[in-house]
Subunit: 243 residues, 2 copies
């Protein structure tokens, strides 16, 4: 694919639409959706409505949303975003402003980062911008009533995709709050670890935030059943748990 | 102060209004402002319009906003929120739903956490809720075009109010992105430390985000002049800096 020589300036904007609740979308995100020539959402299959598209449907019911399929899992040596990036190229070559919607924030644990890298590799002249979005852990902290950081306390975001080792390291400092993403498979192991270091009490988990079937509750309770891949866990600083 | 015996249920909602840009307010925050009986903003003096109030004025120009003065600095043994909390009590005792607006997110480095603690101490029956908000570092990442976390990478939020030691610890893991709040006074020391560990390149700073006088640029540049107390610094993971 070679870019045509005289194209209008194309733009790709990663639009964070928040964790799933339609009312956690920002005015800037709505403005980006309204201003774009084309709105694109990631999807697991051509006929599946992804979570970000579902949010768009609720805040902008009449907006047409294109889907690009992201392969699930970690198969193959190439970036999972290379296929989706190639699907965007004809629109960008036509000079369109493409808005790619993403759950949470496009700069933090988002598919948008790899998509933008691939698009920049294919079309270096495309202007890439982002619109920040509320992250799942912020919504969970609000729903669970758990302040996460105060004064000079630190807050770490880690993942538990590969197990609980990173969480274990983050827990070494008891004054630090910890957020764990992508740990659904390891939720029982996380609960065990939190109990060992005396921080199970007060730790909260949430899944399907803003969606039908949403569950928010203590890690101690949610760890006893099956959890979703995208479960979010928040562990407040030690010594801050009331009662 | 003793609570009257037959009061309607009072509520206190901490409403995150984002980093300063009016279009980074969420629909939920707007709904909370519209639904409240009274909107209250923190201020440095009775006649000073604080940053959160300024955001409210831009998104809801006709809304009346009460100010409660938070003493600056760390003087005295009592919580800086005890005075403001006492100011809210008469409204809460009258059964009002009070919305307290705060920059960023009310659960992360916000005056709201200590205010809510004080109110709960004075009036345990008051229902406390929060509405999450976009944080300054998210806006800075978007403006600077810096993805912060991908895959299984970690992200740490630390403060540099007391110096650069916490930052130094957070930098020990090169794969971890670091966000530094409240480090204005120590910006030159932070720049020196980042240079020593080879992570000055790509590190970005921002102050007065969304306000007149906003500055966003490389830490290397901003560190050469005076910076604001509320400067935000983002340090992407090592090895991710292009060029």
């Amino acid at each position: 694919m070679t870019a045509p020589s005289s194209t209008p300036p194309a733009r790709l904007t990663g639009v964070g639409v928040g964790p799933g609740h339609p009312d956690l979308v920002t005015l800037q995100a709505l403005g980006a959706l309204d201003a774009a020539d084309r709105v694109v959402a990631p999807s697991g299959a051509p006929d599946a409505v992804g979570r970000a598209e579902s949010v768009v449907r609720q805040v902008r019911p009449h907006l047409r949303v294109e889907r690009v399929v992201f392969p699930m899992g970690t198969g193959g040596p190439s970036s999972p975003a290379s296929g989706p990036a190639r699907e965007l190229v004809p629109w960008l070559d036509a000079g369109e402003h493409v808005a790619f919607v993403t759950l949470g924030d496009p700069n933090i644990y988002s598919t948008f980062s790899s998509l933008a890298s691939e698009v920049t590799r294919l079309r270096p002249q495309v202007e890439v911008t982002t619109v920040p979005g509320i992250m799942a852990f912020q919504a969970l902290a609000a729903m669970a009533g758990v302040p996460l950081a105060e004064g000079t306390g630190a807050l770490s975001l880690v993942t538990a995709l590969d197990g609980t080792e990173t969480l274990s390291q983050a827990l070494e400092d008891p004054s630090r709050a910890v957020v764990v993403y992508k740990g659904g498979r390891h939720l029982p192991a996380m609960a065990k670890l939190l109990e060992e270091v005396g921080r199970l009490e007060g730790a909260m988990a949430g899944e399907l935030l803003g969606l039908p079937g949403q569950r928010v509750g203590p890690v101690a309770e949610l760890a006893s059943g099956p959890a979703a891949y995208l479960v979010t866990v928040i562990v407040p600083p030690a010594g801050r748990v009331d009662g």
